[in-house]
């Protein structure tokens, strides 16, 4: 019987496999950042261990860095300590660091692909759940905790129980691909399979609805695999993948011969079996807006906030969850999504802060002004994205419309730096999680695509971007 892409990558990375033991898997790339690494380095020091492969380990700082003027000192003392600790750890252990002043600094999941560190067929780990992003290149990319970070630093391997392959087919063609985006596809998938729908699996996204997407859009899809509970999400590499990685700073010297091998091997065989399947038809899907406090609590922009009964379909806990969510979000069932007023807009995060995302959002913004009720910001995913956007004049478009144009980092996606919502703020956000307090204590998050966030910024409420002339 044939193998799935996931199984091929898994098999080619087994260091040790014994019955009734987890498999020891080799890790090709380890990305680290300032928040989940300090205790791992402490552990190495305590046990007198070195980093086994500093050449395969890359660090940046993204989670708590300020997005304001980089020449000013960091006011938050604890953030400053965490940043200095990473600098010291990288120096002591010989690890390449893209620090605050590096042109390569940025959100770890944006810079990996941009620098050619992310490669098809590779195993990639990072102490961050959105590591699944790198699966867009046909890599097996896993988010891990700090104990595992330490284990990988010390051994370049990780013990794993083999997850099950899950096929998600995306069929059809979007009628208006500028208005209905990759974000809307992945939110639709999570809405359907639920936040635990992918538990214990590695998802492979397949079908023309996926191959039609750009690499940046594919990253948006794989990024949110974790929001469906999956260990990882991946997409078989094709010519778009190979073109994207060609000639980047860390692209291997023997790249073309690697591409030849990848073309032959990195795909799911026609007779391979998946343990779980789901199909989404995208011909008629609408822009999505989350109304609740997990990414599965999402509906079409043309719909109304559902009642807990409609949402839960008889499940008691789901119903309680929806009641609690409506209370936290201060929303009433039956309210039209387009009537929901917002006062904050965040365009950023590892989900939606790449050049493509900013270009698409700028088309909505151009010639318009942010509503007087709204405070809006753009946080490019990396300093390189920021520079490329500025070369295209996007910064001017955003600034002229009264958006704030910031330095790169995770920023308001998780509220670790000063970019947070105040209690009661309601935000249209291009990020990945609408959990209670995620963007700041008492803040309310609606997950949307970059074009939906841009349109909400101008109008002060959600609008159906299919009505706009986008191309």
């Amino acid at each position: 019987m044939g193998q799935t892409l996931f199984e091929k990558i898994w098999d080619s990375h087994i260091v040790e496999e014994t019955q009734n033991e987890p498999s020891l898997i080799y890790i090709d790339r380890h990305l680290i950042h300032e928040v989940t690494s300090p205790q791992a380095f402490d552990g190495l020091r305590m046990n007198n261990r070195k980093v086994r492969r500093p050449d395969l380990t890359i660090a940046t700082m993204d989670h708590n860095v300020p997005t304001t003027d980089r020449s000013l000192p960091i006011l938050d003392q604890t953030s400053s300590i965490q940043i200095k600790t990473l600098e010291k750890n990288c120096k002591d252990f010989g690890i390449t660091l893209f620090g605050m002043d590096s042109p390569n600094q940025g959100i770890v999941h944006v810079i990996g692909p941009q620098l050619g560190i992310t490669l098809p067929g590779a195993t990639i780990v990072c102490g961050d759940s959105h590591t699944s992003t790198h699966g867009a290149f046909g890599a097996l990319a896993l988010g891990i905790g700090t104990s595992d970070v330490e284990h990988v630093l010390a051994s370049q391997t990780m013990w794993l129980e083999k997850p099950k392959p899950f096929e998600i087919k995306v069929k059809g063609k979007r009628k208006n691909p500028h208005a209905v985006t990759a974000k809307d596809i992945i939110l639709s998938i999570i809405k359907n399979i639920g936040t635990g729908g992918g538990n214990g699996t590695v998802i492979e996204y397949r079908g023309e609805g996926i191959t039609d997407l750009s690499m940046e859009q594919r990253m948006t899809i794989c990024n949110m695999s974790i929001e469906a509970g999956a260990r990882a999400g991946l997409i078989a590499p094709d010519e778009k993948t190979f073109d994207y990685l060609r000639g980047r700073e860390f692209t291997p010297k023997n790249y073309e011969s690697l591409v030849d091998t990848w073309r032959d091997t990195l795909h799911t065989d026609s007779d391979a079996k998946f343990e779980k399947e789901f199909t989404l038809h995208i011909d008629d899907i609408a822009p999505q807006v989350s109304w609740g406090t997990n990414p599965g609590m999402t509906c079409d922009v043309t719909e109304s906030v559902p009642s807990p009964d409609e949402y839960s379909k008889g499940d008691t806990n789901q119903k309680k969850g929806a009641e609690k969510a409506l209370e936290y979000m201060d929303l009433k069932s039956g309210t039209s999504i387009m009537d929901i007023k917002i006062n904050r807009v965040f365009i950023g995060s590892c989900t939606n802060a790449r050049l493509d995302d900013l270009i698409e959002a700028s088309k909505v913004i151009q010639g318009n002004k942010v509503s007087s009720e709204v405070q809006a910001m753009v946080v490019p995913g990396s300093q390189m994205v920021k520079k490329q956007a500025e070369e295209l004049g996007l910064d001017k478009i955003f600034i002229d419309a009264n958006f704030e144009w910031r330095e790169s980092g995770c920023s308001m996606c998780l509220g670790m730096n000063p970019d947070i919502l105040s209690p009661g703020d309601r935000c249209a956000s291009t990020s990945n999680r609408n959990f209670e307090g995620r963007q700041g204590n008492g803040g309310r998050t609606h997950l949307v695509s970059p074009v939906m966030a841009a349109a909400a910024a101008i109008n002060g409420h959600f609008v159906d971007v299919r009505e706009l002339e986008l191309n």
């Binding site: 020891l24 604890t78 905790g145 104990s147 635990g196 997990n294 969850g321 995620r438």
Partner: protein
Amino acid sequence: MKGNIIKYARDNIDTDVIIPGQYLKIHDYAELATHAMEGLDPDFHSKVKEGDFILSGKNFGCGSSREHAPIALSHCGIKAVLALSFARIFYRNAVDGAFLLPIEIDQDAYDGIAEGDEIEIDVSANEIKNNTKNQTYKMKPFSEIIGKIIAAGGLFKYKPDLD
């Protein structure tokens, strides 16, 4: 293991409510623990006692990979989380660092056990005894591998038995 239950009767308790992002800069675990569950239940820290257990619904610990989540709970004295199901990274982190036991339960146990009930967990017999209600429930056994890592006291103490 014997302790009292703190029950959150809902699904999808995420790591952002277990320990909000703003506290991930704290390196002192005792201080981190003072903010555990702050995003969901501001009274948690005043009511939790050494040896308590949390009981919750499906997909407990979904979201971020922050190991700070099981660490914060364990440093409040929580010895186990009983849930209908767990998000994968939280489960792994809990076992890796031997912070607390992630115990999968069935609907009977979930419905039968209430806030404040005193329960006893017998991992070797895969049993949960509710002393308050005088009921007994089955827990889902740990996989052989997870059982070995737990018995060893975490990932760094575990030596696999290789051929």
